[in-house]
Subunit: 175 residues, 4 copies
Amino acid sequence: MVVLILTGGYGLEGSCGLVVGDIVSRLEQKGVGYRVFRNDNTILPIIGEPDCWNSDAVKQLKDLASSSSAIILVSPEYHGTMSSTMKLQLDWLSKDELSRKPIGLVSLLGGTSNTSTLNHMRHVCRWLGAICIPEQIAIPEGRTHLEDGKISNPDLSNRLDTLIDSLLEITDKLS
Amino acid sequence: MVVLILTGGYGLEGSCGLVVGDIVSRLEQKGVGYRVFRNDNTILPIIGEPDCWNSDAVKQLKDLASSSSAIILVSPEYHGTMSSTMKLQLDWLSKDELSRKPIGLVSLLGGTSNTSTLNHMRHVCRWLGAICIPEQIAIPEGRTHLEDGKISNPDLSNRLDTLIDSLLEITDKLS
Amino acid sequence: MVVLILTGGYGLEGSCGLVVGDIVSRLEQKGVGYRVFRNDNTILPIIGEPDCWNSDAVKQLKDLASSSSAIILVSPEYHGTMSSTMKLQLDWLSKDELSRKPIGLVSLLGGTSNTSTLNHMRHVCRWLGAICIPEQIAIPEGRTHLEDGKISNPDLSNRLDTLIDSLLEITDKLS
Amino acid sequence: MVVLILTGGYGLEGSCGLVVGDIVSRLEQKGVGYRVFRNDNTILPIIGEPDCWNSDAVKQLKDLASSSSAIILVSPEYHGTMSSTMKLQLDWLSKDELSRKPIGLVSLLGGTSNTSTLNHMRHVCRWLGAICIPEQIAIPEGRTHLEDGKISNPDLSNRLDTLIDSLLEITDKLS
């Protein structure tokens, strides 16, 4: 089983990158394979710009999604929904790669908790024929709950474990 | 396998009732068990009204949901979302009955097609821990596509077959 | 100017009723007229039930909405969206009463803050042609921030003042 | 009065550009000023990429938004919501430019009509303190209703007139 992780942050430096790293650690501990799409190394084109339809970056993203068993999306909430960076990655994917694929959702917010980014990502994934698991996590208040390079808040950390376990179980059952 | 069908129309007389009848016919043809909750015979209390917490009607609804393998929700769209009648049924249910339960969604609209009722029901079901399948149907334009006591539009009819097949398959895999 | 207040709780006994009372106090202090629709005294019929189309209760609700300058909706969040009790009231209203009417939105949640009930009410009001003001309040954590018969949390209380001031200002400008 | 138009298509070549052109014609006929942000000439940075915080392109977008009286957003629907190109423009804006600003919404879909892109843009604009007018238009079925360089479907064309008139009227009243 291989889990693809997409981040709506730029690369892996910021808060989303930290959460991606935490997810990676947990998958490694379970012996589950993973891939991380580096959107700072593999720059996706704007849709419609010259030559965008023959982009190697898009092909790489599509190949990663096709060959993965499940996906975890980690997006910051910008103005009440997923970042344009996350949406750009989803814009380039299609039912060809995502139909019936199990997906787990995580969002990071600067302020108070809210599920609207999760709701909008769930909506897009549904549109693409994917099966989002019911477990989801909104991490509020910026870096408050992210210390020592991982999710330090015990409740959020437990919920991430539950999300990953559920994703792996449902992926296994649906395969 | 037993599929519970909830309708957001009043009883089974109107357009929703007709769609419920069509779903029942298809389940019968497949030899799949089903239950229909008659919200006109079993009147659910308003939440908060005197004695509502000991309601036999609520107990019946909860027992039906608990003992079903999967659920199909059929709601009219009123003012851009599910009817109060559908919401009342969902309000009385909880994670105890719906957690991990596969759900299929159907909406009926008086005018142009739209998914907002489906989106809102999907949101509520997620909140209750259920797993809504990606297939869904919005039946537009009132009775236009409902003739001879069934969904007469071939495309919508095919999509209902696909929805039911997917629901049964996913229910089987997740059980 | 007359502001109509609708509650998604049952009557005025619970947390929503307390918030309605707080809003009433603030309107009185400003010398602004108000009406409160008592959904426990004036029982709206289920849509579709016998004789529902000639209901006096519905007529009363419609008259109240028509004759008001603005509306404030106060709903509990049940399973991620407005209560069926709030939806029933909105189901019985139409563009005839709500087109271009300014609306302010308040939700109450048992747990963590979230805007999904506000989002769904905003969606319905838009559908009905109303103009929801951008200010809105989600009151989290049950009774925690409701003490001494009013909103006791200073930040939430200030935000309610801002919401009411904005509603009155926009109502005045749009009239 | 100056209306800013943002498009979620790439530049002004495609279907969104055609609709932008139609809106421009109507504003010109009314003698209303307008600006169009050319996202193909003024390339916005990805949020977080090196030097993004000092971008001239971002400054130009913010200045345009600040100096406009109202905004019209025209986005394609990609996978059930606004394009990443539209979201990138909204991501770079803030309450500083959009608070209390009246906004009108238009979406273009390849297939069946749906309001989900409009809903999500409305949600983001609310978050930014803007006041979206209730009138909105979803243009379905690709180029079907776009002929001779304008919206050729009479109903959709009339609705665009109504949207523009309402936007100008509400902008005038709220100013």
